[in-house]
Amino acid sequence: MIFSSLTFLFVYLPLTLALYFLTPLRWRNLVLLVVSLFFYGWGEPVYITIMILSILIDYIHGLLVEKYRANDRKARWFVGQSVVFNLLLLGFFKYWDFLAANLSLIPGVSLPQFGIPLPIGISFFTFQTMSYTIDVYRQDAPVQRSMVKFGAFVTMFPQLIAGPIVQYKQVARELDHRVNTTEDFALGARRFTVGLAKKVLLANSIGALWEACLAAQSAGTLTMVSGWMGLLAFGFQIYFDFSGYSDMAIGLGQVFGFRFNENFNYPYLSTSVTEFWRRWHMSLTGWFREYLYIPLGGNRGGTVKTLRNIFIVWLCTGFWHGASWNFILWGMYFFLWLMVEKYLLRSVLAKTPAAVKHFYTLVVVFVGWGLFAMENLRVCGSYLAACFGGAPLWSAADGYLLRSYGVTFLVLAAASTTLGKRGWEKLPGKVRAVLTPVLMAAGLVVCTAYLVDGSYNPFLYFRF
C-alpha cells in the first residue's frame, strides 16, 4: 500500500487510527505490529513471510548477542551472522539479477536470473534490523526481549517502505514507554498533510514534465532548454516525492507517539556538494557513517585510508539506490566531487560569493540527477550531451512546456527554500490558528481530487 492512495487514506488509515487509539496502551505495540504486517502484505501477501523471518532472526540474534556479552568472540560472531543474513536477503532480492547478468558477460559463466519482484522497503528494513544487533553489541541500545515490540519496530508502517531509516536506539525508549498526546496527534496530522501535498500536488505534477522531456529525447526533439527543464523537473520530483514521503512518515510516527529523525534539511539551499550531502537523505548518510565509515576506520588512518573509506561509502551509497550501473556511476560522481571539494576547492570556495557557490552546487546536483534518472547509459549520455550544447537551444514546444509548468516551477523553487516557513512564523499566532485547519482542509481536498482523478478512466468508445 502507498500513502498517496485512496485505499490508504480513506480506509486503512481511519480504521487503523480507530483501532490503535481504542486499544489500551499496553496492547498498542501489538496493534501496530498487526496493522503494519497487514499494510506490508497488501501488495504482495507472500512477502509477509520474509518480514516475519527477518523479525525472528534479528530478534534472536539480539538476544544471543546479549547472552554472550561476556564472550566477545561469540557476540561478534552473532552480530556477523545477523549482518550476513540481512545482506544476503538484500543481495538476493535486490542485486542477484544484476550480478548474474553482469557476471554472465564473462565467457564461460552463465548464471540464471529470476526476475523476482523486489519486496517493498527491503532496502530500508534490512538496514534497520542490521543496526539493531550492532547497537546491542555496542551497548548503544538495550536488547529488546519482547518479540512484539521488536516486530513493531521492524514493521512500523509509517516508515516501512520509504524511510527515513530509523535506528533502533532512536525509538527504543518509545517502544517501551510512550505517551500519546492529542498535541502529538495534531502536529503529526499537520505534518502528514504537508507531506501528502508535497507528494501528490508537487512531485507528481512536475514528474509529468520529466516524462515529456524523456519522450522528447527518444523522439530526437530534445533541446538544450527542455533538457535542463527536464533535469530540474526530475530533481524537484525526487526531492518532493522523497521528502514528502519522509514528512508523511514523521507525521504518522508522531501521531502514534514516535519521534523519527528528520531526513531532509532544505538540500537545495546548499552552497557546496559536501553541504548538500549533509542535508539530503540524512538518515542514510548517517547510517553509512555510523555503521560503515567509522567501523572502516573513518579518517583516522591517513589520507590514503580515508580516501579508501570514503570511496567504499560512496560506492555503497550509489549501489544502495538501485541495482544498475548508473547508480554506481552516480555514487562515484559524488565521490569525485566531494574529494575535489575536500582537497582542491576548499580555499577557492571559501573566497567565492555564496550565490555563485549555490549555483555551482545546483548544477552539480542536477546533472547528478540525470545520471540517477536514466538507467540506460546510452540514453543518459545523449541526454546530458543535449543539455551541454549537443542540441538546438530552443523550440516552440519549449514555450508550451514553460507556460504549462512555469507556475509549478515557481512554487517548487519557493517550497525548496525556507521562505514559506519563515513567512508562516512571522504571522500572528491567531492568524496561524485560523489558517492551519483551512490550509489542511484545502490540502486534503485538493490531494483527494488528484488521487480520484488518477483513478479516473473513461472508456472511450473513443476507441470507436
Partner: protein
C-alpha cells in the same frame, strides 16, 4: 498548541478521513458511470487464492476508487486546479478556448505500416474496388486552435503513407480544411458533427465519382443542445457550453437492419432514446454493432457500398444512403468473418475502409481484412 486546539485539529483530521469512509460505506454502490461510459468495480469477493495472487487487494483498490463519493466532481476540481497552474492539457485533451481537442500521441510506426498493408491485401483478395479514407481529427484540421507549441502527432504523415499504398484515397483533409471555420467537429466530443460528416460525405462521393449532395436539400433538425461528449469526460472540464446535435437526413424510405446479436433485427436510422442519456452520439444508428445495413427504397437499382467503419461513419451513413441503394456498415471489432467473402455474397459494388486517423493508427483489428 493548547489542548483544546490540538483536540480541534485532531478531530478535524479524523472527521475528514473517517467522514469520507462513512460516506463511502453508506452511499449505495453504482453499477456504471455515465460520464466514464463504463461499468464500475464492485466489492470483490474474498478468497484465499485471490488474496495470495494479489487480485483481491487490487479488487479492493479498484472498488474504493470507482465507488468514491462524488467521483465526477473531484475530477472537475482537479481540472480547475490544473487550469489555475497554467496548464492547458487535461488528461491528453487540450483546452482551446471554448473547444476541447484530443491530443494524438505518436503511434507505433510498425502498427501503422501493418494496418496499411492489410488494406492492400484486402484489395488484392476481392474484385470489388477498394478505397481508403482516413478522417483527420480536430487536432489536425484545427491545428491553429491548439495552444502554441502544444504537441500532437502530425496526421499528414499518415495521409501521405495512405496515398503511398496506391489505393484510391478520399481527400477528407482538403474537404474539412475548406470549412475549418465552421463547426465541423464537436467542441466536447472527438467526433465530427453532422455538418462535418456532410462535407466528409461529399468528399467520399467525389472520390467514388458520384454526384455531390446539396446542403439546401436538407432541413437540419436540432435534436439536442445538451451534448457533452467524450472529451468532456476525459478532461474533467465540465464548464463548457454543451454541444448541439443535429439530424439532417430524414428516415422515410430507409429501412435499417442491425445484426446486434448475430441475427438480423429491424432498426432505425436514429435511436432517439440515446438523446436522453449522456452518450448522445450513439443516437446515430444506435451505436456500435457488428453489422448494419441501410437500404434506400428510392434508389432500387443503385450501387451497394460496404463501409469498414469506426464510429465516425455513424454520422456519415445517413448521407451515403442518399446515393446508394444499400449501405453496409461493418465493424471489425465485432464482425469476425472474411470481409472479401461478405462483399462477394452481398453483391457489393464498392468497399471503403473508413477510419478516423486516431483510431486507424492504434487499431489492432484491421488484420481481419486479410482473411
Amino acid at each position: 498548541m493548547t489542548k483544546a486546539y490540538s483536540r480541534f485539529l485532531t478531530a478535524f483530521f479524523c472527521l475528514f478521513l473517517g467522514g469520507l469512509l462513512a460516506w463511502h460505506l453508506f452511499l449505495p454502490d453504482r453499477d456504471r458511470s455515465e460520464t466514464e461510459n463504463r461499468t464500475l468495480a464492485q466489492a470483490p469477493a474474498f478468497s484465499w487464492a485471490a488474496l495470495v495472487n494479489g487480485s483481491y487487494t487490487k479488487g479492493v483498490e479498484d472498488y474504493v476508487a470507482d465507488q468514491f463519493p462524488l467521483r465526477d466532481d473531484w475530477t472537475v476540481l482537479k481540472a480547475r486546479a490544473e487550469q489555475l497552474m497554467g496548464k492547458s492539457e487535461f488528461n491528453g485533451v487540450y483546452l482551446c478556448g471554448d473547444t476541447l481537442i484530443s491530443k494524438v500521441e505518436t503511434p507505433e510506426a510498425a502498427q501503422v505500416e501493418k494496418n496499411l498493408t492489410y488494406i492492400q491485401k484486402l484489395a488484392e483478395k476481392t474484385d470489388v474496388p477498394v478505397s481508403l479514407g482516413i478522417i483527420p481529427s480536430a487536432a489536425e484540421i484545427w491545428k491553429g486552435k491548439l495552444p502554441a507549441g502544444a504537441e500532437s502527432w502530425d496526421q499528414t504523415l499518415l495521409l501521405n503513407a495512405a496515398a503511398g499504398t496506391g489505393l484510391p484515397t478520399v481527400d477528407f483533409k482538403g474537404a474539412l480544411e475548406a470549412h475549418a471555420s465552421e463547426p465541423i467537429f464537436y467542441r466536447t466530443d472527438h467526433h465530427w458533427t453532422t455538418l462535418g460528416a456532410f462535407y466528409g460525405a461529399n468528399a467520399l462521393l467525389e472520390a467514388l465519382d458520384k454526384a455531390p449532395l446539396e446542403q439546401a436539400d436538407f432541413t437540419p433538425e436540432t435534436v439536442s443542445d445538451d451534448f457533452s461528449g467524450t472529451l468532456y469526460s476525459t478532461s474533467g472540464i465540465h464548464w463548457l457550453t454543451p454541444d448541439t446535435m443535429e439530424f439532417w437526413v430524414g428516415e422515410e424510405g430507409l429501412s435499417v437492419t442491425s445484426w446486434r446479436t448475430g441475427a438480423p433485427e429491424a432498426a432505425t436510422l436514429y435511436d432517439r432514446s440515446y438523446l436522453q442519456v449522456k452518450d448522445k452520439y450513439s443516437a446515430f444508428l444506435g451505436g456500435n454493432q457488428p453489422l448494419c445495413v441501410v437500404k434506400n427504397e428510392a434508389i432500387p437499382d443503385g450501387e451497394k457500398i460496404l463501409v469498414v467503419r469506426d464510429s465516425y461513419s455513424d454520422a456519415l451513413a445517413p448521407f451515403l444512403t442518399q446515393r446508394f441503394s444499400e449501405v453496409h456498415l461493418l465493424d471489425l471489432r465485432y464482425y469476425r468473418l472474411p470481409v472479401a467473402q461478405y462483399a462477394a455474397e452481398n453483391g457489393i459494388d464498392r468497399i471503403v475502409v473508413l477510419y478516423s486517423a486516431q483510431n486507424f493508427v492504434t487499431d489492432k483489428n484491421l488484420v481481419l481484412l486479410t482473411q
